[in-house]
């Protein structure tokens, strides 16, 4: 691999531009492919195949060739409601798991850069915050405040936008009340049932890092099931 190619890969990674590395295994030549871009030189006859690999987010060798394709896709967006203690651990876990985290918390004393050094906290109410964060069926929501004023509008947004994972912290009783409120707000039983509450898989732990671990485990599992 040429050092220029390596530098371009790193640039794309840090600016979160999706791309593929296309390598000729015979001679070691490689090129960075971005969607909508034409491949040059000997690679141009594999344009279609490379695009197909890219679409299906696959890595591998193009059949009957010596061309290896490696795709890099944008991380999954995870929105955390509540810049609480558990969120601090979630941010740490998410770093190595290809999740892109946004934390929303309207309470200024939680949403400080001292508590979340490498992260931009959206210090707004969820309704306002979602105006500046693009979300879709590939987004996940983790609601951690168990304060209906803050969590409920976010949960409603997530249900309306059909997030693939929605989890909400709180005891069975808290979750029961939450479900009741969502029902009164007009959401169907099926929609409400899609919320993971109480959030996380059963690990048995009660400390903040243990709860964060149980949440992230559930999130990874649901990410592979989607």
């Amino acid at each position: 691999m040429n050092i220029k190619t390596l530098e371009q890969i790193i640039k794309n990674k840090s600016s979160k531009v999706e791309f593929a590395i296309v390598t000729n295994l015979k001679n070691g030549e490689s090129q960075v492919f971005e969607p909508g871009q034409k491949l040059s030189g000997d690679f141009d006859k594999f344009q279609k195949e490379v695009e197909n690999f890219f679409k299906s987010k696959k890595n591998g060798i193009i059949e009957n060739s010596d061309i290896f394709v490696e795709t890099y896709i944008r991380p999954i967006k995870v929105i955390i409601i509540g810049a609480v203690h558990i969120a601090q651990y979630l941010v740490d876990f998410a770093k190595s798991l290809n999740f892109e985290i946004s934390v929303i918390d309207p309470r200024g004393y939680f949403a400080t850069s001292q508590r979340f050094p490498d992260l931009k906290i959206v210090n707004k109410w969820p309704d306002e915050a979602f105006k500046e964060i693009e979300t879709n069926e590939n987004t996940a929501l983790i609601a951690l405040t168990h304060d209906p004023k803050i969590d409920d509008p976010a949960l409603q947004h997530a249900l309306n936008k059909k997030f693939y994972y929605i989890g909400a912290l709180g005891s069975k009783k808290t979750h029961g009340n939450r479900c009741q409120r969502l029902k009164e707000a007009g959401f169907t039983d099926e929609q409400i049932k899609s919320i993971h509450g109480p959030i996380g898989i059963k690990l048995g732990g009660k400390s903040a890092p243990e709860i964060a671990l149980s949440i992230i485990a559930q999130l990874v599992s649901e990410t592979y099931n989607k």
Binding site: M1, L6, E7, L25, I61, F68, E70, I73
Partner: protein, 109 residues
Amino acid sequence: MRNSFDEKILDEALDWIKTNQKVVLATVIQTWGSSPRQVGSRMIVNENGDFSGSVSGGCVETAVVRECIDLIKKNKVCKKIEFKVSNESAWEVGLACGGEIAVYLEQVN
């Protein structure tokens, strides 16, 4: 998991190069059976045999390092190597899991 934007192995490769080290990228390009790491998994190796990342669960890394040093010494651009199931009675390099992998080595230049 999918190739991660956060995976730092290629960033590390560039850091090594900037400090005048020679770097070989070793990438899993094909797998058969129950191989431990998926296609696209990667490790980097320098001329001293220092390495980072992985292409298996620790089964074949030593052999990969040796091949990478050899690639640098002979100043070859690239090479493909395959690893198959190991013979349990021998102390040879192979995959105890019963899988097979092909690893592609390429110098960064």
